[in-house]
């Protein structure tokens, strides 16, 4: 990869240790993706915020670099592990977790990021104009940006997005280019799919696809289903983009997603026929989803604990519009700045199994939190777990 004189100087350490580190990361990721140069980006979305995932080494690293590092472009951040407004209700979370999580939060804020603590930046901000180069590390957000938002990003890592935030640059490669070859078409064979089916389709597509996939046989899914598709796809593989298409006579490889394929994925992720608690929101719910939920809950109450995750910005909007009233009356606990995935708010001493409609959530609940998962659609949750 060719560097400009200024970039080379930064790599040689002439602009300080932090920028040297950032350029070392950009050089490695540029070489990894055969980029010929670095280009400017407008917005970086960072992962690596939850103390559960980055641990002591991550906390110390961020504390150290935030002493002098400042972001050069708009930067937003992924969820933390907890919602500090509700932390007193969760006695099992120890003081060390709280202290380290606060340190991580403060380090990001010192560097100048917007404290969004959300995996759904596309639900909080108006998206920039078509073809704008961004650098999104959260996989569902990167896939959403490329596939539905008209933006351009690679499926960035926590460090490559951080390096982009600190330099305002990213290697010009893969999904940042205009022409992308899509080598596979997945033929959706399920009729009237709900959001769970779309999540399973995404997980399947991420497994069989490599870089990008076409999806045929789908007509205008709603936002809830689109987000489920992005979340599922980002969890299982390396795919960074999908494209809905009606064309099936091209030369791409064709793969069917029917009942059999769906059941196989479902059986891999669903390990229980009931849940001790319910979680909704991975990706975090948007305003429209909270509005739908408040309508679905009219006159009903949850029969077990239900944690509902959305970003702080969306929660504030929902409060102003009174969507939260019906949800809270029905017993739903609305939590922000964190999400189903990898939150220690789920107390594994008291919880053996969790009901959710999120395929992404199911994967991390099973593999990271270590609980069994009862996977079912939102309408089935309302039907079976409320009265």
């Amino acid at each position: 990869m060719e560097l400009t004189k200024e970039e080379q100087e930064a790599l040689d350490g002439e602009m300080g240790e932090t920028l040297q580190t950032a350029y070392r990361i950009l050089l490695a990721t540029g070489e990894a993706t055969n980029a010929e140069k670095l280009i400017p980006i407008k917005w970086a979305h960072l992962s690596g915020v939850n103390y559960n995932t980055i641990g002591d080494a991550g906390e110390e690293f961020l504390r150290k670099i935030s002493k002098d590092a400042q972001v050069k472009v708009k930067a937003t951040v992924n969820p933390m592990g907890v919602d500090f407004d509700h932390i007193s209700e969760f006695n099992h979370i120890d003081d060390e977790f709280i202290e380290k999580q606060k340190s991580i939060r403060d380090s990001y804020i010192r560097m100048g990021v917007e404290p969004t603590f959300s995996c759904t930046p596309y639900d909080i901000f108006d998206l920039p104009e078509k073809d704008t180069q961004v650098s999104f590390a959260e996989s569902n957000a990167a896939i959403f940006a490329n596939s539905l938002g008209g933006l351009k990003t690679n499926k960035e890592s926590a460090f490559s997005a951080l390096a982009s935030a600190l330099t305002g640059k990213s290697p010009y490669s893969d999904f940042r280019k205009d022409e992308i070859n899509i080598p596979m078409t997945i033929r959706m064979k399920l009729e009237h799919p709900n959001e769970l089916d779309f999540g399973l389709l995404g997980f399947f597509a991420g497994k069989v696809g490599d870089t990008a996939v076409n999806i045929s046989g789908v007509s205008q899914p709603n936002r809830r289903s689109c987000k489920a598709l992005c979340g599922g796809m980002g969890t299982s593989g390396t795919c960074a983009k999908f494209q809905f298409t009606d064309v099936e006579n091209d030369t791409s490889e064709k793969v069917d997603f029917g009942k059999e394929e769906m059941n196989k994925i479902y059986d891999e992720l669903n390990t229980s026929d009931k849940g001790d608690i319910i979680t909704l929101g991975s990706p975090q719910l948007g305003l429209g989803e909270l509005s739908d939920l408040s309508n679905m809950l009219k006159g009903k109450s949850f029969q077990k604990r239900c944690m509902i995750f959305c970003s702080r910005a969306v929660q504030n909007q929902a409060r102003n519009l009174d969507y939260t009233k019906e949800i809270e009356r029905a017993g739903g606990e609305i939590l922000s700045d964190c999400c189903t995935c990898l939150t220690p708010l789920i107390d594994t001493n008291e919880t053996d199994s969790v009901t959710t409609n999120s395929v992404k959530g199911a994967y991390y609940l099973k593999n990271s939190t270590g609980v069994d998962v009862n996977l079912k659609s939102l309408s089935k949750i309302i039907e079976e777990d409320t009265k």
Binding site: R24, E31, A32, G55, A57, G58, S157, N367
Partner: protein, 127 residues
């Protein structure tokens, strides 16, 4: 052709897997041990190995796991992949772990348990 992603020198025994690695989920950064039984290197330690695997998958936060392995003294001394991905490349760059991408032929020819020497600035990168 062997491609250098992160420069460096290393010498150690090869630990080879045919499974793409999800660093966040599969490796315990406090011990370096692979704790996901779906892997053919289940219960093996990546510590001080030349870790040879097809490519990284899964969470973008896996880059922090690679860095944590290094800080905790449990990291591989080098990594060799068949395909580079941003999580492994950026994690190795920050952790200062030499990283190479090799052709499928070269990848297949690398034997588990063999001693290997890597020097990215030498004409013979792998010995």
């Amino acid at each position: 052709m062997t491609k250098v992603i992160v420069q460096g020198k290393a010498k150690g025994l090869v630990l080879k897997t045919h499974n793409p690695i999800n660093f966040l989920g599969a490796i315990d950064n406090k011990t370096g041990i692979v704790h996901d039984q779906k892997y053919d290197i289940f219960e093996k330690s990546v510590k001080n190995s030349v870790l040879v695997f097809p490519h990284g998958i899964g969470s973008s936060v896996g880059a922090y796991t690679i860095y944590s392995l290094k800080v905790n003294g449990n990291a591989p001394i080098a990594m060799i992949c068949q395909k580079a991905d941003l999580t492994v490349a950026s994690g190795c760059a920050l952790a200062d772990i030499p990283m190479l991408v090799v052709t499928p032929e070269k990848f297949n020819s690398i034997e588990n348990g063999k001693e290997m020497q890597i020097d990215t600035r030498s004409t013979e990168i792998i010995n």
